[in-house]
Amino acid sequence: MAWVWSNLEQIWGLVLSHIALSVPPIIVGFVLSIPLGYWASRSRLARSVLLSIGGVLYTIPSLALLVVVPVILGTAILAPSNVVFALSIYAVAIMVRSSADAFSSVSDDVRESATAVGYSTWQRFFAVEFPLAGPVLLAGIRVVSVSTVSLVTVGSVIGISSLGNLFTDGINRNIPAEIIVGIVCVLLIAAIFDLILAGVGRLLLPWNRSAASLTRAAERASTLVTQ
């Protein structure tokens, strides 16, 4: 513990840079996956192509990607944007599938009914399909968030500062407390992000909450009946 108290300032700095590296890929992943996922939900061909590409991208080893990205982008090898770019690729790769599933989960009846009462294509997308895809999109982005927060640590291996520094440094100097602090901080950030996302979901998707509680009520009722 002594190590923690004497290094609080450094830990806090790493927490901040860790967050700074985590947030952009999550946002980029979410935003880019929306049009891609929508496209995949509307065309079988697009779905199989996009999901295959996503699958392939996700299998690229993160360390290799971090080394290749500066070559592609022409950035300096130590630029934080490399990590952001690489993690954005992973985020999109995971999120495209969720997003495709999310838009597929909107029933054709509802889509058709919206058209029949006079929503234009764009109005229907923003006012009907996007909000109704919300619950599945939310589930997807929560996975992306956790995965991104933990993957940021890999950047430390090539020298981009994050909480991963506590792992590399802790191993090099044999300070177990440092490694444990690193793990705890990463877990805390992941948990806080998840809470924030779940809270935003509750706020933006009130109808989903009532539908879910109604389903639970119905399940309870049916178990009572079967008993």
């Binding site: 509802v110 009914s113 006079g118 109005q123």
Partner: protein, 296 residues
Amino acid sequence: MIEFRNVTKRFPDGTLAVEDFSLVIPSRKTTVFVGSSGSGKTTLLRMVNRMVDPTSGTIEIDGEDTAALNPVALRRRIGYVMQNSGLLPHLTVIDNAATVPVLNGVPKNEARADALRMLDTVGLDRSLAERYPSQLSGGQQQRVGVARGLAADPNILLMDEPFGAVDPIVRAELQVELLRLQRELGKTVVFVTHDIDEAFLLGDQVVIFEQGGRVAQIGSPTEILSDPATDFVAHFIGAERGKRALSIRSTDRGEILVDSEGRAAGLLVDSVVGAQYDAGPKSRSVSNKTSQAGDA
């Protein structure tokens, strides 16, 4: 007035849904399309608000060719009620009912206030206004669907098997309610169903379809029942059986009407008393024991 002129619809997969269909749908009356599934009746309904475009032929509303109109603008001035209500699950009852006025640019508060009054019109309690559709019963959802269809005060109301998915008791209630609404509002209603009883109950004009969008007979319920055009129609309306094949049987206490099974179906009433029923379009001078017509 809605006029179909030589309308044909062939789907991309080659299915011929409707062939050379012509019909005038009079204003402020209820026209019912009835037929089994695959008879093209829903396809025709959806051509009115351009959810489906015909392969050939034209559809005119008050003399205006719909092909020349913007489909989105057209849909906003035509009410549409579908099976399973088609309500938007993420909007509350009141926002669902106010959908079309809001799309038309009416300020939200104003549209909501109007929608509240519309809930009264369709017989829904205002306390349901803030609920979500999933928290309502099937019959209540259907009423919200009707409220939404009527909210922008359209001249035309399209109803695609709106009561197909609710239980028979609620269906009977909704049918009676629709008759009341129609008496009050006088919309041009086009109603699709596969239930001939529903067609006869609600329709001023009934169009019976055979497979492939061919019209078997067009007429008022009285005309069709008294003079079925073909064997298909006679069979479809069940003229020779069940509660439609009524006959008079004399008993000690007077004459009663019995159905083809010999069960008592009603009484032959005095024609003076019967005249009050003639106010309704589907009057039969029979007080039927199933008595859906009794409300007319």
